[in-house]
């Protein structure tokens, strides 16, 4: 009996694995559209569009693979001098007017509809496992639905539905869900640009799922490949360099 069970599970596993592999391979390709560089710095402009109000924020993000990212607040002047560091799932913020770097939880938010992770993380692969959810048309164009599941239960968004273009695997839109299953926000990958010969995401629109008139535009520019020292991502080093 035992060999039969082993053969059954082996058959199931070999049947499932290629799909998951394809999905994670697609996710890797999506990440290449978002940020193809393992070590980088990039400027991020956030524009809040709330009914009759518009506000701008500027950050520079320094990244080291999937493990570490550092966010430097550059504008407006009230936020200048602040830093936010994310080491896997450990997050700390440095406020010049506070007496020490503050450890913060994933729920605490930076600005507008963008969570800290939305700005600091430029890829999905480090945080999510993917599987294929089917094929659907988005705005009349064929698309593949990827279902992303958080690798860690403490992540800001437990599940993400991500639609990618059927041929190019370019990200089109995404829906972010809480553990309860409630949709929190929608992302639209609005604009693409070129980095050398490579096509990359340039502008993302983030829409609040409950209040659709609350939108945030997130634009990337000056993506540079550069390796930064580990100490830069140390919480005690924030504000010292």
């Amino acid at each position: 009996m035992k060999p039969l069970i082993a053969i059954f599970f082996a058959a199931v596993l070999t049947a499932v694995e290629p799909g998951a592999k394809d999905a994670n391979e697609m996710l890797r390709r999506v990440d290449e559209y978002r940020n193809p560089l393992p070590h980088y710095s990039v400027d991020v402009d956030l524009t809040l569009l709330h009914r009759d109000e518009t506000r701008g924020f500027t950050f520079r993000v320094y990244g080291k693979g999937d493990e570490a990212s550092l966010l430097q607040f550059r504008a407006p002047a009230t936020d200048k001098g602040k830093f936010y560091v994310m080491l896997k799932d450990d997050r700390s913020i440095y406020l010049p007017d506070a007496s020490r770097p503050i450890r913060i939880s994933p729920l605490q938010r930076l600005v507008g509809e963008a969570s800290n992770g939305d700005v600091a993380r430029t890829t999905y692969g480090g945080d999510y496992d993917a599987e294929i959810g089917g094929e659907e048309a988005v705005d009349g164009k064929p698309a593949i639905l990827l279902l992303l599941k958080g690798k860690d239960a403490d992540m800001s968004y437990s599940k993400v539905k991500l639609w990618v273009a059927a041929g190019s695997i370019e990200p089109i839109k995404a829906e972010y869900y809480a553990m309860s299953g409630r949709m929190l926000k929608k992302l639209y990958f609005r604009e693409f640009g070129m980095l050398g010969a490579r096509r990359i995401v340039k502008t993302i629109e983030i829409q609040d799922a409950i209040r659709p008139d609350h939108r945030t535009m997130m634009s990337y520019s000056n993506l540079i490949s550069k390796q930064y020292p580990d100490k830069m991502f140390n919480r005690n080093y924030m504000g010292k360099w």
């Binding site: 002047a77 009230t78 799932d89 506070a98 600005v111 100490k231 919480r235």
Partner: protein, 397 residues
């Protein structure tokens, strides 16, 4: 000082000179604050308004920060200059250098720094038992909204080895007045080892020498789930001395002691953030000593003078509880905050609601009201003002 600040501020706020590879940036803030402090004539420290506390006062300041260094951050020169004017019955203006240091990154794993620098040790919100080199802060107002923090003079080295960050510094107490220059310069030292271990921010620290307490401490912080953060600090101090009331007089007493802080913060829906901390300071007055202190203030006028000198708000009881609730009513636009600090011994509290309104991205208008509640001869009712109302505006550039 004012001229220098004005000259530097007139430069572009974030200028760069890429041709030489040296970047410089200047930023800062200016603001004014009105303070209303009606005196508390029922305070045993202020009978019949003897302290003659001014009802109205005003402060204004300009602070300028500057960073100069190459793009690869191999070295950096940083300064923080502040000039301010305090007005109550008379006006006083002053300029000060709150930070001025040079740091050099000799290799990826070692940095050197010399000059005056603001250090931020510890994990507590209201108090930092391990923050032996931190700027002084008031738990009723723990943020530095007026950019008043001032650094310590130091020469330090930072090592980054296998995920650890080791900091060692010497802290000379340099005499800046000519009268004190003839004496030898007392030199203290402080050291810290920090590492992120399985999600725990963990630090060990120690200090000693002249001018710094002889202490050893430990601090930690960690998040659990999506909304909870817990933190703590503990330190032992071996050579603390403190004025203590006993047998009808104040005398200086050597008081080795421990300080412990345990706290956490929880983020509720709508980003409402609650912080709760418990703080114990073994150097503060015991129940019997506090009763003696109360008795002393009711006796001779000489004792009243000494009692005023030795009364420290939030420094008389051994145990306090700190609560803070903050709610961004409109994110990056309107924030409300409530801080309440309670002395466990007599349940008296300092309660401080505040509102911050960002009129434009660079201008914030705010108001803080600190109210002292408790029984007639409780710690908070010893404070010689009834309440404090601060209304201010700050422009950041």
């Amino acid at each position: 000082m004012l001229y220098l600040i004005a000259l530097l501020a007139s430069q572009s706020a974030f200028a760069q000179n890429p041709s030489e590879g040296i970047q410089h940036k200047f930023w800062g803030s200016t603001g004014t604050e009105l303070h209303l402090t009606p005196d508390n004539r029922r305070s045993p420290l202020n009978p019949s308004g003897i302290l003659n506390i001014p009802f109205l006062s005003n402060s204004a300041d300009v602070t300028l920060f500057g960073d100069i260094g190459p793009e690869d951050r191999k070295w950096k020169a940083h300064f923080k200059l502040r000039t301010y004017n305090e007005w109550s019955r008379e006006s006083q203006s002053k300029g000060e250098v709150n930070e001025a240091y040079f740091s050099w990154s000799a290799a990826k794993w070692i940095d050197f720094s010399v000059g005056r620098r603001i250090e931020r040790w510890g994990t507590g919100y209201g108090w930092n038992p391990t923050g032996v080199v931190n700027p002084l802060k008031d738990p009723r107002d723990p943020t530095d909204r007026r950019d008043r923090f001032r650094g310590v003079d130091q020469a330090s080295v930072d090592l980054f080895v296998k995920g650890w960050n080791f900091t060692g510094m010497v802290v000379p107490l340099i005499p800046y007045s000519s009268a004190a220059r003839a004496r030898p310069v007392p030199v203290g030292w402080a050291a810290r080892a920090y590492r992120l271990i399985h999600g725990f921010d963990f630090s060990l620290s120690a200090s000693g020498g002249s001018g710094l307490p002889n202490s050893q401490g430990v601090s930690f912080s960690r998040t659990f789930g999506k909304a909870l953060e817990l933190h703590g600090e503990a330190a032992v101090f071996h050579n603390t001395v403190r004025w203590v009331p006993s047998a009808g007089v104040f005398h200086l007493e050597r008081r080795p002691h421990a300080e412990v802080l345990l706290g956490g913060q929880y983020t509720f829906p709508h980003l409402v953030n609650l912080t709760v901390e418990y703080y114990h300071n073994g150097a503060n007055l015991s129940g019997r000593e506090w009763m003696e202190f109360q008795r002393l203030t009711g006796s001779q006028s000489g004792n009243l003078l000494l009692a005023n000198r030795h009364f420290m708000p939030l420094g008389m009881a051994t145990d306090y509880v700190f609560n803070r609730i903050a709610w961004p009513v409109r994110l990056n636009k309107l924030d409300v905050e409530m801080i309440a600090i309670t002395a466990v011994r007599d349940r008296s509290s300092a309660i401080r609601p505040a509102i911050y309104w960002r009129i434009t991205p660079n201008v914030t208008l705010y108001s803080l009201v600190t109210e002292f509640t408790g029984a007639a001869r409780s710690e908070m009712k010893f404070i010689p003002i009834e309440r404090q109302i601060d209304v201010g505006i700050r422009f950041r550039f």
